[in-house]
Assembly symmetry: C2
């Protein structure tokens, strides 16, 4: 809906983003689950639900909103089902400007409530019948402001990459070269930011995007070499991962850097949410747990003596979904799960 840079961000852009947002973001812990189960690789879990606003989205949003403020904007507009919305809303509050969020009417109530708690105006729309971009364009035309795309924006991708810097530094501190890094993937902005850093700093690690089954546009796009769309606009419990197609900028970054994409069932994502509650005491939402699910199901094919980094990307979940997830995990724990942590 506005002209965006057509140049993908670089590793140096991630370093610049970190200098810009580090005073405002939390350096989230990388939890080493130890000792590993004899038949499973060592698991290192990036606890991004602890991030401000409960997801990695605050990183990219705060970088983009901060730049918007420096450019003189007093209003930002975003389209988001929830986590990007909260990131943009809270960044706008932090930097003292207004925010308008165009949000699907079926977004989890907890996400709308938390977005409004940061002072943003929320404009709901029907995911099946209305055009969110047209709604956002109308707001921008009538009121002015800077549009903050959730992933088709170099500043947003660079901000998400700061999560990758922390992973690389913490692996260095542990003296550990992971075999694989697994990242939840929707439009591909987080994956792109992380892969910019990991490909450079931990070149021995295979990087995987992880998607819900049925929303595997990244897997099919990587295989085809061109960006393909999902057949359905909604219907997964992973409400954070419903982008129709890979973003163009992120796909340029990811295509040469990813080892591939992995898909997990909604059921496995829920069980991973239950695992995080039972074993890590961390609240994670289904879409934020897909990389953990993939690792616990052994999809990355890392040998027992190896190590896998998984990103838990967000924690904005309804209690009812959490309770359902815990029950699903207890009924069927992951076979290769490490001992109590």
């Amino acid at each position: 809906v506005t002209a965006l840079s057509s140049i993908p961000p670089t590793y140096d852009d991630v370093l610049a983003a970190r200098a810009r947002i580090a005073p405002h973001t939390l350096r989230t812990p990388l939890l080493a689950l130890a000792p590993p189960h004899p038949t499973a690789p060592r698991l290192l879990v990036k606890l991004e639900p602890l991030q401000r606003t409960g997801s990695f989205k605050f990183r990219g949003a705060s970088n983009a909103v901060r730049l918007a403020v420096e450019e003189g904007f007093r209003h930002v507009v975003a389209c988001s089902s929830g986590n990007h919305a909260q990131g943009v809303a809270e960044a706008a509050r932090l930097f003292g400007i207004a925010a308008t969020i165009v949000m699907p009417a079926d977004a989890p109530p907890v996400k709308r409530r938390r977005t409004e708690a940061s002072g943003a105006r929320v404009i709901p729309y029907d995911r099946m019948t209305e055009d969110r971009d047209a709604l956002a364009a109308r707001v921008l035309e009538e009121e002015g402001g800077r549009f903050v795309h959730p992933y088709e924006d170099p500043a947003v991708i660079a901000g998400q990459g700061t999560l990758g810097l922390e992973i690389a530094e913490d692996c260095d501190a542990l003296g550990l070269a992971p075999d694989a890094v697994l990242v939840p993937c929707s439009g591909g902005g987080l994956t792109a930011g992380v892969s910019l850093v990991i490909a450079r700093r931990l070149p021995g690690a295979r990087i995987y995007a992880v998607e819900p089954e049925g929303f595997d546009d990244y897997a099919r796009s990587l295989a085809a070499g061109t960006r393909l769309a999902n057949p359905s606009p909604g219907g997964s419990v992973c409400d954070a991962l419903l982008a129709r197609t890979p973003g163009r900028l992120g796909f340029e970054v990811n295509r040469p850097r990813l080892a591939g994409a992995l898909a997990v069932s909604d059921e496995a994502a829920l069980r991973a949410v239950g695992f995080a509650f039972e074993r890590l005491r961390v609240v994670v939402e289904p879409g934020g747990a897909v990389a953990l699910a993939a690792a616990l199901e052994g999809l990355a094919n890392v040998p027992p003596e190896g190590a896998v980094v998984v990103v838990l990307s967000g924690g904005n979940v309804e209690e009812a979904t959490l309770a359902r997830s815990v029950a699903a995990y207890r009924a069927e724990p992951f076979g290769a799960a490490p001992p109590p942590a």
Copy 2:
């Protein structure tokens, strides 16, 4: 039930404990909630539910069990309603010896299940009619082993103190001298370990023990100058904080170091559990949330320009209790709560 050292631990014992257990414990993050609400002091939250076994108890247990192994023991025995049980059970599993836990029959099922998941034998007893010490003594007589008391043991207190070292170091790194440090308190072992360190490293900080209303034996004992008991053995939702009376060793450490003790209602503890879920995405149990509740209710009387450190001490909670807590928090948020984190 066994001869225990009658000498309280020292700051140097805490340093020795850290050298012993650091390879096995998690250095948990101190989360700085920023920016603070204009009328509330800055809040720093120690995320100990992320600790192995979900509570600080693993610190003291692993120090004591490791020492027991070095003394040649192949079996440890403990009495605990749950968190100490899990700590001892997992420490025994880690160091390759057996564990027996005498546990009240009304302990939360999640705690019994997690204790058994670490391979320990659990002997249930009736809190009202049976003598847990006699049960433990019989096991020790028949099978041999080392008893690990939850707080009347210098090795346990020294292990808990490692949490205080991390707080002091993180405050130093932030360039921050907190006005108050609030610690959940039952027998007083965690409070003693933390106060040993904080009184030395952050001498400007007032240290408070925080208890559930009706179980304020520490407050009354500090006021009386001698150890007094609670009238009731049970009945608070804070199942982790039901010790009848302050431990002797901890009381000797705490008495000259504490500014006092604060009491919070069960309702406030539940609302603090809801706050942690909604705002921090961390799972905490009611007993582990009393210090947070006290801070959010402003009980430490710290001015808006000051800073308060609160310890979240454990996260082993039933989903039903969590859901009830979130509902209570939404119905009545804390007035002085900081903005969305």
